[in-house]
């Protein structure tokens, strides 16, 4: 056992050094924002499939309007922006267990990017396209079209409040937020009014999660 004790301090020092090397300083939203605010061609392959399919889905005025367009003729004219919203989510279980520590650590990349779809000149945001990353196959695929009201709200906030904003969703409690980083602080803007915060208010994430944590603990497993 003697040689083992002799090695121990060096092994511990090496482990600390390796851990520090692998873990970025802000091991939360920033690395994902750095990568996906300007996504690569592998993402746009999936986007292309989605945008080619879109006009086929807008086959009548009613459904075109449901997805946010004026009529079906806007389908072939629609384009996506190059800068999607990175989607982060916060789990119900994480909120239930949250002890008030770093709120940024609650955000998990949802493996989804939300691209605004716009039409015309002047440019008007109409709808959105969601692409999803599949970790197992290392491939991006188109997932959804629509969510017109959500994307218009997000784009409006990105234009007026924070150009590097992103979407934070809490699916278990049906909440969506426009999020952005102010220095190291995570700020959330509720997209819907609830008992605690009015839509559009800028709130530090810790305050939001504190309120949601209480609500999460009352969830009983039935649909909400």
């Amino acid at each position: 056992m003697k040689p083992l004790f002799w090695l121990l301090p060096k092994v511990i020092a090496l482990t600390i050094a390796v851990t520090a090397w692998i873990t970025p300083a802000n091991a939360d939203v920033q690395p994902f924002l750095d990568i996906y605010t300007q996504p690569g061609p592998e993402v746009f392959s999936a986007v292309d499939v989605g945008m080619e399919t879109l006009p086929l889905l807008l086959s009548d005025t009613t459904h075109a309007q449901e997805l946010g367009f004026t009529d079906a003729e806007q389908g072939p004219k629609a384009k996506v922006t190059k800068t999607p919203f990175v989607v982060f989510q916060v789990g119900l279980d994480q909120l239930q267990a949250w002890n008030g520590s770093n709120p940024r650590a609650l955000l998990k990349f949802a493996n989804k990017l939300l691209f605004p779809i716009y039409v015309g000149a002047p440019v008007k945001v109409k709808s959105s396209l969601t692409v999803r990353f599949f970790e197992k196959d290392k491939v991006w695929k188109v997932g959804q079209w629509g969510s017109s009201a959500l994307i218009q709200d997000l784009v409006s906030k990105r234009t007026t409040i924070a150009p590097k904003g992103f979407l934070v969703t809490v699916p278990g409690l049906n909440r969506n937020y426009f999020g952005y980083l102010s220095g190291v602080q995570l700020i959330l803007i509720p997209l819907e009014t609830d008992r605690s915060f009015a839509a559009g208010t800028q709130v530090p994430a810790a305050k939001v999660f504190n309120s949601l944590s209480t609500e999460a603990k009352s969830a009983d497993g039935s649909p909400r």
Binding site: I35, L67, S147, P171
Partner: protein, 280 residues
């Protein structure tokens, strides 16, 4: 002795390195530099229903309401209904949409079950109470309709009103029939259900332990396109949480297979409520 010492040291070093890798989880979401994910907390046990069976499907006894039926049994019922003139002939390779669905928002963050049930029941041209009245009747609470902020939002005076619930309880309350199908409708069953003019509700079960209801109102089978040589099956859904209509790829609609939400989508179908119709 020296060999043994070196071997011990190397093994110890490897063990420490391995444990460090496990702790920080450096799974890479895309081409590019490795980015760590936030540590995941294990899902909490389901507080209301028994845990799912080991192969991932929900235990049949855990699906509340009417006795669940298999997809095969459900498809036989559908065929019979179509044969007896319950709906138009279907073309699963085309498209069909039911326009009477939505757009109404769930009026609190917890009322997806009341909102979804109301929307689907009203698509059969039967007026149904407001969401807050449905909630009061089903949950046995008072003061759920106070205070109304606007037509899309209520902040109930009684906080007990703001709870989750199950669509089947609403169907029972308002004399509607339904079937609990224990797995997601396949393309054949989905398209037939829409052709029968029956929008349906599925309960999405997520990996974090939460559940949510979403309405299916149509389908498209389109393509191919220049970038995609295959036809694309697409499902029209309406989510009362966001007041947003969405088209999902069929794969996105299904999510993780076999009722186990811990795969790449992080959600699966807990149950599909189909053939929601007024009792004769």
């Amino acid at each position: 002795m020296l060999k043994r010492t070196v071997a011990h040291s190397v093994m110890f070093l490897l063990l420490l390195m391995f444990s460090a890798c496990v702790e920080i989880d450096v799974s890479i979401p895309s081409k590019g530099p490795g980015v760590p994910r936030a540590a995941e907390t294990p899902p909490i046990p389901n507080l209301v229903h028994p845990r799912p069976l080991s192969h991932g499907m929900p235990a049949l006894s855990s699906i509340p309401g009417k006795t669940p039926i298999s997809l095969d049994a459900f498809k036989k019922m559908q065929t019979k209904r179509l044969q007896t003139g319950g709906g138009a002939a279907c073309n699963p390779d085309d498209k069909k949409s039911i326009d009477k669905v939505g757009p109404a928002l769930q009026q609190t963050a917890s009322w997806c079950w009341a909102a979804s049930s109301k929307i689907v029941m009203e698509s059969h041209n039967i007026p149904i109470d407001d969401q807050c009245n449905i909630v009061m009747k089903v949950l046995g609470e008072q003061l759920c309709c106070v205070k109304v902020i606007n037509k899309d939002l209520i902040i109930p005076e009684n906080t007990n009103c703001q709870r989750g619930g199950w669509p089947y309880k609403v169907f029972d309350m308002y004399a509607f029939d339904y079937e609990n199908v224990d797995s997601p409708l396949d393309w054949d069953a989905l398209t037939k259900e829409i052709c029968l003019n029956n929008p349906f509700i599925y309960v999405e079960k997520r990996s974090d332990g939460s559940k949510h209801t979403v309405i299916v109102k149509g389908y498209h089978n389109v393509g191919p396109t220049a970038s995609n040589p295959h036809r694309q099956k697409v499902v029209e859904v309406y989510d009362p949480q966001s007041k947003n209509f969405q088209d999902f790829t069929y794969e996105e609609f299904i999510g993780d297979p076999n009722g186990d939400p811990n795969g790449q989508y992080s959600y699966s179908h807990f149950v599909d409520y189909a053939q929601i119709r007024p009792l004769p």
